[in-house]
């Protein structure tokens, strides 16, 4: 049975923890709103970009002279997995769910005899993957100093990946991130970025401009395509980063909400225990006094 003093200290400590988790929850809620806004504002660009690129890509594929970024290197032996996670913890299963998905993919690819390389964005995923796959990790993009995610950050990451592709370090690149669905639901998603795939974009492009619109290209199609494809990679990474940021805040918000509620329950339980033992001490003292008086 813990002493009264211990119980009191315990309750105090849980109370201050509750204050912290409550504050974190509110901060996450505010950041979530900002992250969602950022994600929304980036959407028009990404949609138009994919629509244009999708149209171009389809044309180039038909012509049969597609650049490597679009058509692939002709092999799928080496896979690069770009695992995007958060820089900070305390966000529930956010990081674990991405890592679990990436790990399943690694096992699957290795089982099929492919070689795998890992590039991590965000500290938490690196820590989790390092334990098992330290020898597969080729690089890490550090975003811990970034306060507000900008397109520049995505472009730098894309640049890094593209240089490795040019150097022939891998054949297929896939990004892993959490797609934001709602505060309580984030869906781990894998998207292949190299060679580029525009399934969704093509549909949109045809729907928006109609199949009748035939564009003139200036300079010609291949030049534009060569210039746009690397940007397409950056755009995809950027929207994935934004989705991930919104998901992270959403996950943290619900995790902290749970923690706050748990702390409240614990405080209630401990307070009852504290009151009981205080009452027991009082009763004990009374008994001692009374039996002392009777003995006189």
């Amino acid at each position: 049975m813990p002493s009264l003093k211990d119980l009191k200290l315990r309750i105090e400590s849980i109370k201050s923890t509750r204050k912290i988790t409550k504050a974190m929850q509110m901060v996450a809620a505010a950041k979530l709103r900002r992250a969602q806004e950022a994600a929304e504002m980036s959407r028009p660009y990404a949609e138009r970009f994919n629509a244009v690129l999708g149209g171009l890509a389809a044309a180039a594929r038909d012509a049969g002279d597609a650049p490597k970024l679009l058509a692939g290197t002709g092999s799928d032996q080496v896979h690069l997995l770009v695992v995007m996670t958060s820089e900070r913890g305390l966000c529930g299963g956010f990081n674990s769910s991405i890592v679990r998905m990436a790990r399943a993919r690694i096992v699957e690819l290795q089982g099929a005899g492919k070689s795998v390389k890992i590039l991590t964005i965000g500290k938490k995923g690196r820590e989790q993957l390092k334990r098992e796959y330290d020898d597969l990790m080729i690089d890490h993009v550090d975003l811990s100093g970034v306060k507000r995610l900008g397109y520049e950050d995505a472009r730098a990451a894309a640049q890094n990946i593209l240089e490795r592709f040019e150097a022939g370090e891998f054949d297929v690149a896939t990004i892993f991130f959490n797609r934001f669905q709602s505060v309580i639901s984030q869906v781990p998603t894998a998207t292949q970025i190299i060679p580029a795939s525009f399934e969704a974009g093509e549909g949109e492009g045809e729907g928006a401009s109609g199949p009748a619109t035939v564009y003139d290209y200036e300079p010609d199609e291949t030049v534009i395509l060569r210039e746009l494809l690397p940007r397409g990679v950056a755009t995809q990474i950027f929207s994935a980063l934004l989705e991930n940021a919104a998901s992270e805040q959403g996950a943290r918000m619900s995790a902290m909400d749970n923690a706050t509620r748990n702390a409240g329950e614990m405080i209630d339980k401990l307070t009852i225990e504290f009151n009981r033992s205080r009452q027991a001490v009082i009763t004990n003292e009374l008994i001692e006094i009374i039996s002392g008086a009777e003995a006189l």
Binding site: P44, Y45, Y217, P219
Partner: protein, 138 residues
């Protein structure tokens, strides 16, 4: 013929402008061009320069550092990597972009180097056009 068309300027981070325009002058990679309503569908890449929008409400100018434009009969969309109203451009911002370009140029070689050199020259011209001094490039 319609009097106005839809003009949209979007960057990856936000949508900068969405308005009705009578004419849009674009710094196309192969020369400036002006898009008016019912223009033939064109997709062109952009060089660093100024996008001038004429609308019934007046003129608006935006600096873009590159990207591309999609023009069709209904409207013009500019997708710029980096864009801002000309009034917000300062020599610090231009310097930064030029420095970035210089760094990229050092790392690049061959065709890419030539392309970036061209971009650098265009950035200088852009500074001159806006009357903003830009630090020289080595």
């Amino acid at each position: 013929m319609a009097d106005t068309m839809q003009f949209d300027l979007v960057s990856p981070e936000r949508s900068l402008a969405s308005m009705a325009a009578t004419a849009v002058r674009l710094p196309g990679a192969e020369g400036d061009m002006t898009a008016m309503p019912d223009h033939a569908p064109v997709i062109t890449t952009l060089r660093p320069g100024v996008v001038r929008v004429e609308s019934p409400e007046g003129e608006a100018e935006f600096m873009v550092t590159g990207g591309f434009a999609e023009i069709n009969a209904a409207g013009t969309s500019v997708l710029a990597e980096r864009a801002m109203p000309v009034s917000e451009v300062t020599s610090e911002i231009l310097d930064e972009i030029v420095a970035e370009n210089a760094r990229a140029r050092e790392a690049a070689s061959g065709d890419e180097h030539d392309m970036l050199s061209k971009v650098a020259a265009e950035l200088l011209a852009l500074g001159e056009e806006l009357g903003i001094s830009v630090k020289g490039i080595g």
